[in-house]
């Protein structure tokens, strides 16, 4: 019972954070709302019994990636955004589109059997099981992902290093 109440509360906090992210005009407020979203998602994972995923969610998303977001906003000293009047096409197509797609998603979820809500704590996720799955059943995807990340890191290094002509002039000068 307490699980359900907490789950609903943090679900509401999560959605409120997401809405606030869109409504706020100052980038730093939007970034902070995103942190709230990440944090409440971590609580939801915790309530479902996936404590390892919850901790990793906080450490990586809320603690590392969002710090970089805030860092960039601070570095660029980004100010408040100007509010445009908005496009009429977005209003005319967007609101009916949202309605139709949410009705479709709800219909598909309700029509299919076997998609009932998972009871809280039914799928335990202690670190040992996750480690076992990652290094046995999903070893190939895991390794392929790591190679992908390595390529991304190398790409970032190439992009960030100054072009050869600049390096040449630095050596000469």
């Amino acid at each position: 019972m307490l699980h359900l109440v907490l789950f609903l509360i943090f679900g509401a906090v999560c959605v409120a954070g997401a809405v606030n992210l869109l409504v706020q005009r100052h980038p730093i407020n939007s970034a902070l709302s995103l942190i709230v979203v990440m944090g409440s998602l971590a609580v939801e994972y915790l309530l479902l019994g996936a404590e390892f995923v919850a901790a990793v969610q906080v450490i990586i998303y809320a603690g590392a990636i969002m710090v970089l977001f805030v860092f960039v906003i601070m570095l660029l000293n980004a100010g408040e955004e100007e509010l445009t009047s908005g496009s009429r096409v977005a209003l005319l197509l967007g609101i009916p589109g949202i309605l139709v797609s949410s009705v479709l998603v709800a219909w598909v979820l309700l029509a299919h059997s076997g998609t009932e809500a998972v009871p809280a704590g039914a799928l335990p996720g202690p670190p040992k099981i996750i480690g076992w799955l990652l290094f046995h059943d999903f070893l190939l995807p895991f390794e392929v992902t790591s190679v992908l990340i390595l390529i991304a890191i190398m790409g970032a290094v190439v992009l960030a290093s100054p072009p050869e002509s600049v390096q040449q002039s630095k050596k000469e000068g």
């Binding site: 730093i28 390892f52 450490i59 809320a62 603690g63 590392a64 710090v67 970089l68 805030v70």
Partner: protein
């Protein structure tokens, strides 16, 4: 299985005691620092308030309360006020999963000397400390001052860089003990080799990991020789330049509480936690582990202060090069070698 009422009451009492002890420890770490650095520099340190200046922390606290609380113009007010609260909240929260001793029985309730024992204790501490950087970063940004902004930027860059080495240095310990629970990690370090060398992780081949942890932890807590975010000679006071009164005191408390957390973690992960010789009657045997633990934490804090009194500050490019080009490869090498040894043994 304990009843819900006794669990709730025990938790409330433990939380209150832990907070009281932590805040007192924070106050007296400041006193210790002033005393020790004073003696290193051939001065006396605080002597006037109470014997050996022991009441100085109280006097300082009162002074902070009565100082004028100035909010400079053109600050981003919401975040300017929230930043010290964020910093001190996360700094104090991490004590909740730190065990300080064995199980004890008080008034028929058997309880661990720890607010709560969770099986991902170490990850929780890492998560909380990684959130703590927002206090510093937002303080620097919201103050609308160039010194504060530079301090905040330096702090966040430094903390992100050194968190990688810090996390990697802990994985060797995790491989050896096979658990994220701090209590199980300490239990894995009981006993001795050949009857006299204790089986602490530092003697189980994690000595390099310990020194990587030590250096990364100094950088994480913004202490000399890595205190670039608040370097007085170039940035006035860094991210807390514009803060006064209790708001400044909150940053101060957060810094020292983080130091104590780091010291507790070092004792638990590398120095055998509360293991030590047990002797005497039963009541003494239940107190002694706590004493051994506190002694280790004290020793670690003393090293902190000692280094503050001895070493000069790094340049910023040196700090970054040290973190990425020296500490990180060393941490990865330590991880690979530990993994190899454990794999070959099993």
């Amino acid at each position: 299985m304990v009843s819900v009422e006794s669990f709730v009451i025990a938790s409330i009492i433990k939380t209150a005691i832990a907070l009281f002890v932590l805040l007192t420890a924070v106050a007296y770490t400041v006193w210790l620092e002033r005393k020790v650095v004073g003696h290193i520099q051939n001065r006396w340190g605080p002597t006037r308030v109470g014997p050996f200046g022991l009441l100085q922390p109280l006097a300082d606290g009162l002074k902070f309360f009565f100082k004028e609380d100035i909010t400079p113009p053109h600050v981003y007010k919401l975040l300017y006020i929230a930043a010290p609260v964020i910093a001190v909240t996360f700094a104090l929260t991490s004590i909740s999963v730190i065990p300080i001793g064995n199980w004890i029985t008080v008034a028929g309730v058997r309880t661990p000397l720890q607010i709560t024992d969770v099986n991902i204790g170490l990850l929780i501490i890492l998560g909380i400390t990684s959130m703590g950087v927002y206090g510093v970063a937002l303080a620097g940004w919201s103050s609308n001052s160039k010194y504060s902004l530079l301090g905040g930027l330096r702090a966040s860059a430094q903390m992100i860089s050194y968190e990688v080495s810090l996390g990697l240095s802990l994985i060797g310990v995790l491989i050896l003990s096979g658990s994220f629970s701090l209590r199980e990690i300490v239990d894995a370090q009981s006993g001795t080799f050949w009857g006299f060398i204790p089986r602490w992780n530092i003697f189980q081949g994690q000595i390099f990991a310990f020194f990587i942890y030590l250096m990364a932890a100094f950088a994480e807590t913004n202490r000399i020789p890595f205190d670039l975010p608040e370097a007085e000679t170039e940035l006035v006071a860094g991210y807390h330049t514009e803060y006064s009164s209790m708001k400044f005191a909150m940053f101060f408390m957060a810094e020292y509480a983080n130091m104590i957390t780091v010291a507790c973690l070092a004792s638990l992960l590398f120095l055998g936690g509360w293991h030590g010789p047990l002797f005497g009657p039963a009541w003494l045997q239940s107190i002694l582990p706590v004493l051994w633990f506190v002694l280790r934490v004290f020793g670690f804090l003393f090293v902190y202060i000692w280094i503050r009194g001895t070493l000069p500050r790094f340049r910023y490019d040196q700090l970054m090069a040290f973190g990425w080009k020296f500490l990180l490869p060393l941490a990865i090498a330590n991880l690979v070698i530990t993994g190899l040894i454990v794999a070959l043994k099993s």
